[in-house]
Each structure stands twice: as structure tokens, then as C-alpha cells.
């Protein structure tokens, strides 16, 4: 079952490797060109790799809450039909609580970062 996935992975990696090999012979130079990053024609005053201020970080926390919830959601999807009404009520009560959290976060300005 996962054999196909493994074969596909090998195909993808092999394909990319082949592409690189082909490129070595078709390109005007096999080696890559060492260069500064594009900065409108200037030398960068400092390296770009840095502690980048991702302004959406409050959103990431909220995302995490929902993401953990998905762990329950997938198994739940397979049993709703059998368990019945109680499964629906419980899951959506949980989701409503999470949504209340979203609304609260929105009022706190977490959904806007510029």
C-alpha cells in the first residue's frame, strides 16, 4: 500500500535528479553562478536570514487549537453515522466553543496585522 508511495517518492526524487543532470549539459555553464541577492542593484547591508517579525503569530496559536481539533475530526467523520445524534451534538458544541475563541481573538485584533 505504501509501496506505491515509496515508488512515487523515488520517481519524484529521481526525476528531479535527472532534471539537474540534463540541465548540466544543456545549460551554458554547469556550475551555478555565485551572486549577491537581488536588492534593486545594491549590496545588502546585512544578511536577510534573520529573526523575521511574522506579525500573524497570534493567528498561529489559534490555528494550533483548531489543528489539534482536526485529530478528533477525522476519526469522528467515520463514526458519525453509527453513533448518531450524540456525536453530532458533542462535536459541534466543541467547535462552537472554538469559534467563540475565534470571535474573541478577532475582537482583540489578532486577525489584522498591518
Amino acid at each position: 500500500m505504501f509501496l506505491s508511495a515509496a515508488v512515487m517518492l523515488a520517481l519524484g526524487v529521481g526525476g528531479a535528479a535527472t532534471a539537474y543532470l540534463v540541465h548540466r549539459s544543456t545549460s551554458v555553464a554547469a556550475s551555478s553562478l555565485p551572486t549577491l541577492p537581488f536588492l534593486s542593484g545594491w549590496r545588502p547591508p546585512e544578511h536577510a536570514l534573520s529573526r523575521f517579525h511574522a506579525r500573524y503569530y497570534p493567528l498561529t496559536l489559534m490555528f494550533l487549537a483548531f489543528d489539534v481539533e482536526m485529530l478528533y475530526m477525522y476519526p469522528w467523520a467515520t463514526v458519525v453515522g453509527r453513533v448518531g445524534v450524540s456525536a453530532v451534538v458533542e462535536m459541534f458544541a466543541f467547535l462552537i466553543v472554538l469559534m467563540v475563541g475565534v470571535v474573541w481573538a478577532w475582537r482583540e485584533g489578532a486577525l489584522q496585522w498591518t
Binding site: A29, W42, P45, L49, A54
Partner: protein, 389 residues
Amino acid sequence: MDLSRRLAEAAVRRTCVLVVEVPGWAATRYAAELAIRRRGWRLASSPADADVLLTCGTPGPRLAEAVGLLWEQVPGPRARATVTARSAVDAAMEQAAAALLDTGHQRADAAQRSPDPAMGTRAEHDEDDEDSGGSENQHADEEHASDGSDGDMNDSDMNDGGGDMDMDMEPGGIPLAGGAQDRDGLEMDVLHVPLGPVLPHWPAGLLLHCTLSGDVVTEARPEVLGAAVDAVPDPPMPGASAVDRLDRAARLLYLAGWEARATDALRLRDDLLAGNDDASVAAGVDRLVARIRRSWVLRWSLRGTGPISSGTCEELGLDDRATGDVHDRLVICLTEARSALEGDRLPAPVSPEILAELLPGLEIGAVRLLVASLDLDTGAHLSTGTAAR
């Protein structure tokens, strides 16, 4: 080597051109862009994307320096051309295409390039650094020196492995980024990112010294890099203001990520330049405005972006047509193109100096849109890149 010849021929059909406009040579750039579109070529978004570096006009020393570094960043096959008149464009394109097709020449060019990256110069000009007494090579000014000590060791480990002249905190001869307090109360690194003079969909010659915290511009200092002193720019065109408005609308639409409508605006501009009947162009502009107005997605995506209040307008001496957000100014830009076709006089362009007031606090995408939405006068500083301070 028939295969390599056929590959080259196929490749040249989709040549990508990085166009540099020197202030004063807008007409030449229009002609170049028209030639590029006619050939089925495309404008490049960065030197990595480019095959041809085309300079329209005679750049002053600092602008020329920037273009020189960009030339070193074009991966190759590469061709370079400078045109200073509309009539020269087609021949330059032919030559560039021929140079790109010549695989032997391109291989030789690639082989003779230096194994060390071209370092260029920093955007901060000597004259501006007088207080810190810095020369071009002195990159450890106070800010970096003080931040170097608390620099993140992990970062420096990761950054190593590049250049061979690594110093402790300067892999590849470039210092690490330093931190600064931010409005959110976190200490994060800030980057000094010069925007311009060579950037797609950017006003000619404009250089914005930006300080970025994340993707938000916290400080911006505008400057204009001009043409060479003795150069003779394009003669004034008839109907220039309508052409200019359509060009700016196209630029705005590109930046808003709406290529289809941007192409419409460009084609209208080119129709006008080709001497098409004003009435048919005017009808085209009307159709474009209607389509833009109808798009609620565009309105939603631009609403409130790059706002200028009427108070700010007054303070900065802007025409009150600049009030509102980027979407408002896009519509006004097109309606102005329409009225210019009917012979109305348009408001004069504004000095780029106002950007220092308007930009801080905006995300970089919003900065780009705001800059494109204003009619900035980069031609007034035609000398040689004097700071617009």
C-alpha cells in the same frame, strides 16, 4: 549540436527583459515594452529571471553602478543593451536576440565570469554617511557593532558555508542583521532594504531607503537617482499625460496581481502611442474603468490600502484628488487619462519627498501599491542623484 541550436531558438522565443528606465526616457521605455510584447517576450521580475538587461537612457554614476551590479547578477545566457532613443529599440532587440542565440559566445561568457560574487556598492551614499564618517566598505557602523555582540549564534552557524572570506559575524563579507524594538513590543531583527532604482513596476530613478521589520516598512527615506549630466533625454511627446496615466494604471494593476487588466491598460497605452484615434482609445478606457469598478474582489482587496486622509493631503501639499485609498486613486488615474484625451490639463506631479511621511507602518505590498498610485516627479531632479532630503 543541432539540438542545442534548437533549444536556443525555442528559448529565445520567450526572452525575458529587465528594463531599466532612467528618468527622462519614459518614451524609450514605452517603445521597448511595446517591442517586447510584439515579439512575445516578457518583462523580467528580477535579474535571476532576466536574459536581457536593457537600459533606456544614459544613467548618472550611481544609477549606472546599480545597473552594473545587476548585470553581474543575470545568470546567463545574457545580453545587454542601452538605448537612448525610441528609434534604436528594434535594432537593440535584434542584437540581443542574436547574442542570446550564439551558444558558443554565451558559454565563453559564462566561463570567464568570476567565481566570487560581484559585491557592488551599498545604497547608502557617502554623502549621506558624513556623520558616521563611513566609507563604502565600512559596513560595521554603530548599529551593527552593538548588535553583533548579542547576535544569535544559531543564525551565524546556519549562514556559514557561503563565501570564503568569512569573518566571525560576517559570513560572505556581509554583517548579520541587528535587532530593534518594534511596535508590538518584541525585539526582532530589522533589515535595511533599498527599493529602487531598478525594480519592476517602479518609478524611474526612485530610490527608497527602507527599514523593514518583518514585512512592514518602519522608516523610508526617498532619493532620486538621475541621468548623466550631459545626457539629452527624450523629447516631450504629444499626449504624454494620457499615456503616462495609462502606464501608471497598468503598473498598479500588475502590483495588485491582476495581469489580465494590466495588459488591457498597456495595450491602450500602446494604441495611443501608435497614433490610434483618440476616440477609440477613450472608449477602451471607459470599458476598462467599468470592468475595474465592477470587480468587488479588487475593491475588497485594495479598500483601505495606502490611505491618505484629506488632512494629510493638505499638510503635504497634495492635490485633493489624492485623498482616499489606492483603489480610489486607480479609478481617478484612469479617469484622468480619459480627460487628458479630451485636452484637459492634469494636476502637476508631486515630489517623492512626501513618501517619507506616508510609508512608515505599511506592509511592503501596500508600500508598492501606494508608490504606484501617486504621480511622483522623479524627473525634476535630473542632475546626478542628489539626495532629495
